[in-house]
């Protein structure tokens, strides 16, 4: 079974620590969302997993050993991001030829059909593509290579909504067709959230949460109602945000411990709803006390009545 393991992985770049002490184990054929804010260390983690970078501390292992300098690992791994560049002299068709040579499971027929569908002419040069087109091509290449370990770094960036929707379906169909470990990183989810079986969230170079996506989502609740009733129901719980809605009314977002249920007396007039995975993720990593409102509260700003 495919396994990707970070053990106390650390990566420093000239005095700047991009990743510190990351311990995370991903196992089996599944789609995992690797989430975190900009600068959290996602790309560094992905590049370590791909063997593009050598850890300055700890270990990153897959396919029976450290991935850095491993031929076995690189033959079975593909990493693509919007920054992935191919040689200037190659056309898209030429890149496909090279990928087919490098990766034994590469489905060339499918790659060609997908390129036709997304109007990517095979005679075009990679460097002359727009950002969205480049990412579309990279994602097609990344998926049709059908590598046991597929690393997609912010795959849907810069695409329009229709293409994003289609490529989300492609990702799902590809996973069903050829199950593998697909790690998708991003600072936003853009409709991929329902495809994740697990989420791993990193913050400031460390693992914050690694959990089944369903279980993660269910731990976050939005409770609204009269301020004192909301206060009573959320007492002792981890409150992520609290704001006044109508006068005397309050809306609170809480995070519950795994395996606990919320006690909200039905007579207290409380409305309890779940958060989408995206909202839960934002609520959790939004971190700044009071949010953006606090910055404005400090200035002597007059709100017009």
């Amino acid at each position: 079974m495919i396994q990707l393991e970070f053990e106390k992985a650390e990566k420093r770049f000239q005095g700047k620590t991009a990743l510190r002490d990351l311990t995370l184990s991903l196992e089996g054929e599944k789609i995992v969302g690797l989430l975190g804010r900009n600068g959290a260390g996602k790309t560094t983690a992905m590049k370590l997993a791909a063997g593009f970078l050598k850890p300055t501390g700890g270990d990153v292992r897959a396919f029976g050993g450290p991935v850095f300098n491993s031929l076995l690992a690189s033959a079975n791994t593909i990493y693509l991001s919007e920054d992935t560049r191919f040689p200037y002299t190659l056309t898209l068709g030429g890149i496909i030829d090279e990928l087919a040579r490098a990766y034994p499971n590469f489905d060339r027929g499918l790659a060609t059909r997908l390129m036709d569908y997304f109007t990517l002419p095979s005679f075009m040069k990679h460097a002359s593509l727009s950002k969205g087109m480049r990412n579309t091509f990279n994602l097609i290449a990344g998926l049709t290579a059908r590598c046991p370990l597929t690393l997609l770094d912010e795959p849907l960036n810069g695409m329009d909504a229709a293409v994003r929707k289609d490529l989300t379906s492609v990702l799902l169909k590809e996973f069903i067709e050829a199950p593998r470990l697909i790690v998708v990183s991003g600072h936003q989810l853009q409709g991929l959230e329902d495809l994740f079986e697990e989420v791993a969230i990193i913050d400031k170079g460390r693992l914050l949460i690694h959990e089944e996506a369903d279980a993660f989502k269910e731990r976050f609740k939005r409770i609204s109602g009269k301020a004192d009733a909301v206060g009573a129901a959320t007492e002792g719980l981890r409150v992520l945000s609290r704001r006044q809605s109508l006068p005397g009314m309050e809306e609170t977002v809480i995070e519950m411990e795994p395996g606990t249920a919320l006690f909200a007396p039905s007579g207290a007039g409380l409305t309890v709803s779940s958060l989408s995975l995206n909202d839960a993720y934002i609520a959790l990593t939004g971190g700044m006390e009071g949010g953006i409102d606090r910055v404005y509260a400090d200035t002597a700003r007059k709100v017009k009545p």
Binding site: K165, I176, D194, S276
Partner: protein, 131 residues
């Protein structure tokens, strides 16, 4: 926000989890007769594509129904609708909804300061009025 592109819609903010929503949809299909007794229901992969969700989540929905004896597994063939599944679902839903309504009524009447005896009296009057 609804998910675009998939024929069926998941409500991401519903308090019932995605796998429960999938299970509910199959239950409704059984009640409506779209999935007849001893007929095959969709596989986890078909459901995953229909909803645009992870196959593991879809499988959780199917397993939930199999635990509730609404579906049964045929090894290597998939999931099938159990005999009497329709009645099981209707019974389950009736008792669920009705109990919720009773709970709400009791809470509301306590909030309004109505005694339990008065409430029972009110219910009796209402029943007599309907006869």
């Amino acid at each position: 926000m609804q998910k675009e592109g998939s024929p069926l819609k998941i409500n991401p903010e519903s308090s019932s989890p995605i796998y429960r929503q999938v299970a509910d949809w199959i239950e409704e299909g059984i009640i409506a007769g779209s999935f007849p007794e001893n007929g095959k229901v969709y596989s986890q992969y078909q459901l995953a594509e229909l909803y645009g969700i992870n196959p593991a989540t879809a499988a959780k929905g199917l397993n939930l129904l199999s635990e509730e004896k609404i579906l049964y597994k045929k090894r290597g063939l998939g999931m099938f609708v159990a005999e009497g599944a329709k009645e099981t679902i209707m019974k389950k839903r009736r008792s669920g909804t009705l109990l919720d309504m009773i709970r709400e009524t009791v809470t509301e009447s306590r909030l309004l300061g109505i005694t339990d005896e008065e409430l029972i009296e009110l219910i009796k009057e209402e029943m007599e009025g309907m006869e």
